[in-house]
Symmetry: C2
Subunit: 340 residues, 2 copies
DNA sequence: ATGAAAGCGCTAACAA
DNA sequence: TTGTTAGCGCTTTCAT
């Protein structure tokens, strides 16, 4: 017989399986959870029935009794533009998913895009459908952060480890990378190395500047640093112009990201300086800008997949009751191309 | 008193609320669900107690009885590269989330990145934690697609409306957009308009070609179309070279996407043709390539947010039991810049 | 090794 | 208008 409409066939339950297998619901449950003390025959009968009936356990019911759900939320709380354009967040997702998948956890990515979202999310987290969370970019005094901490939900924060108390976090090691880049600029004979620093209100921005200062040590000259507000091409141009005006003999520049570096290169060219001959320049992110620049940009690669993996591992560890890892800093490989 | 450890305080239940409010659990439930027939006093007492106790209903328990979970899954089943780089998927998510959020549904984005993921997902969908799904890029004979249809789960497919039977889908209207672009090329005086077609195995690729053919009608000349495998810069170069060789008098090109168009422009410049004076060229996607090209690319904008919104609306409609919308084609605005 | 039975936290049907 | 009660589908003692 054929049917046209999708039948609303009642889904099989443990009871149905038990009936068909000729055992009790308890036994079915034991088989389901791979517990010992089940006879071969019983197990076979149950497996058989499960297959026949196409039975799949209802996770809501299971969650209700076990008080856990085998799923982890990943909350993305970023402005539209970042969410849409930043390739790192996709990689973080993929990395986290890989680790969680291996542990048989379901990753569920949740978007916080409006006040309403935030409120619904706080409720959702309370709802018992999620065992732990990875938060990509918490905000200060965020209701979500608050909900998480009052709830004692295992959590790990990615990227902005400020204002989250002593919770676990995972971040790339901005400071070390900046230090390394700057040192190399110096080591290759650059005498007057400057920096276009940006977004100092974010840890990424301030840490990159800190690394730059570290590396220069006593040789650090404040007038060789120009602070600009955003990680943007336009700000890169503005920053480079300022630097060039203040210190015409500048021969090395660490730009806090690739877009800034691209803007800087543009200005440098306009001023008749050749990169890397006259001025060496290094960016940060290893984004699409890097390979499209001429010359191709030397830059810091962000191992975003690793960040995702580490974040997932941390939540999993918390779930197992292991002592907190605290903060994890992922170190970034530097990609030396042609610009320095 | 201060406390150092996060107490594992048992979460309040309806029972606790009922007790504190001096009413029955039934009444608490009625308040929770905004049902009528609750006295003002009772309601106040319950609200009070809820606030005191910081009570949040357990969704697993609620799902168990109501058989629905107020959450919708969005399954992303794309190769890594697409997932990481394609800005459209981010926009689709945002669009879908906006609509679902308004309807008080939680969007949960699920990643299918491995065989294991796919199997776990199929089980997850069966688990009753999800009321409906939006599938971004189903595969042929995909276990997920199969699970969805045997389950009768309300679903809508985004982007690849092939092989999904008569299920609802949402897609951009590739064909109309291609038609419009081509017509305009002709209308602005181009006499020999060609196309670099790509990815003909995907509906996006074949539909764009179909639109091109539509627009040209009787004037269509097969030798003015070059098929290349991928939507890539390199294939754009190859395609343009072939076209130029076969038809040196070509004066208009519709490239199936922006990367192809960028490659084509490069080749055209190398061949001493000026864009748009000698050859007019139009891309597709309105991606980052478009504004970085010189001259800036005229191209088709993909309203990905709209796609997300439409997909979400469709699932919601199915959930309300409304008659299926079938397929929805979202029309794409064309952005005329400098290349044609 | 297995069955019976008690609940997980909530909603909904039924009385009152 | 409200309280009582019976489950939703599963796991988990506790007997046996």
């Amino acid at each position: 017989m054929m049917w046209h409409m999708t039948e609303v066939k009642r889904r099989a339950t443990v009871k149905d399986v038990a009936l068909q297998a000729g055992v009790s619901r308890g036994t079915v449950s034991r088989v389901l959870n791979g517990q010992p003390y089940v006879s071969i025959e019983a197990r076979d009968a149950v497996d058989q029935a499960i297959a026949n009936l196409g039975f799949v356990p209802n996770r809501a019911a299971r969650s209700l009794v076990t008080q856990n759900s085998q799923s982890i939320g990943l909350i993305v709380h970023e402005p539209h533009s970042v969410f849409v354009e930043d390739p790192n967040i996709g990689s973080i997702l993929l990395g986290a998913n890989a680790v969680l998948s291996d542990a048989d956890y379901q990753l569920s990515c949740l978007i916080a895009d409006s006040q309403r979202d935030i409120e619904r999310l706080s409720r959702y987290l309370n709802g018992g459908l999620i065992d732990g969370v990875i938060v990509v970019s918490a905000r200060v005094a965020d209701p979500i952060t608050r909900a998480i901490s009052t709830l004692g939900l295992p959590a790990v924060y990615v990227g902005h480890p400020r204002d989250i108390g002593n919770a676990d976090f995972v971040s790339i090691d901005n400071r070390s990378a900046a230090r390394e880049v700057t040192s190399r600029l110096v080591a290759t004979g650059r005498k007057r190395v400057g920096m276009i620093a940006a977004a100092l209100d974010r840890d990424s921005g301030s840490d990159r500047l800190a690394g730059f200062v570290d590396a220069l040590g006593a040789r650090f000259e404040p007038q060789l640093v120009e602070n600009v507000p955003l990680y943007s091409y336009a700000d890169g141009q503005a920053g480079m112009k300022a630097l060039l005006e203040r210190s015409p003999d500048i021969d090395g520049v660490f730009a806090a990201n690739d877009a800034l570096a691209a803007g800087a290169i543009e200005v440098l060219k306009g001023a008749g300086r050749e990169v890397p001959r006259d001025v060496g320049i290094v960016g940060f992110d290893d984004s699409a800008w890097a390979t499209r620049c001429v010359p191709a940009l030397s830059t810091v690669h962000q191992p975003a997949i690793e960040v995702g993996r580490a974040a997932a591992s941390s939540v999993l560890a918390q779930l197992r009751g292991e002592p907190s890892a605290g903060g994890t800093l992922i170190s970034c490989p530097i990609v030396w191309r042609d610009s320095a």
